[in-house]
Amino acid sequence: MNHDYLDPINSLHMPELADTTFAMDLLLRAKEGVRNIAVALTESASPDVRNLLRNQLMQGIAMHQEIKELMINKKWFHPYELSEQYKLDQLSANNTLMIGKMNLFPVDTNRKGMFDRTPDDH
């Protein structure tokens, strides 16, 4: 491991690493969505709003299940073998910590001046 993001050694197994992160993000968002809709349901009074939310809740639960099954099939998620899961957790935490230490965006990122007029105004 090193701090140079241009070093090719850091791209080893990159697709796997990236996809586990994205899939985990998708899973957490699906989970959060189910919880949010359930909370909203406990506050909603209009029958048609309740109906809409209830359908979306069931759809959200199904989507969450589908993402979880995909992750289990791809061996990105191990709810039944906690030590396997533990290894993945630690690995991705370490990896992301390493990325956190990199200087990824060395140039100024303020691009605001480019968006204050339409092309015709130039």
Binding site: A18, D19, R29, A30, L52
Partner: protein, 81 residues
């Protein structure tokens, strides 16, 4: 019933859900450009389609919020230096 105003508290929860769904849609859409695995990409596309449907339905209901107002074309003030 269809045109009845929503209660205050349910409107606030719709606000939370709509913002959350909007962020989810943006993320699932943009991340498709970054994933490698085809199955994961397909599932994300499915999530995008479901989210667009869901967001549209939520927007339609949100129109009945008591604090509903005409929506301008752009954000009112551009953030400039």
């Amino acid at each position: 019933m269809e045109n009845q105003k929503l209660a205050d508290h349910e409107s606030l929860d719709l606000h939370e859900i709509i913002n959350f769904k909007t962020l989810c849609l943006a993320k699932s859409k943009l991340m498709q450009g970054l994933v490698f695995d085809h199955d994961l990409r397909a599932l994300m596309q499915k999530d995008v389609e479901q989210s667009m449907q869901a967001l549209g339905e939520l927007q339609a209901v949100y129109k009945r919020a008591p604090f509903e107002a005409p929506v301008p074309q752009n954000r009112p003030t551009p953030i400039l230096n």
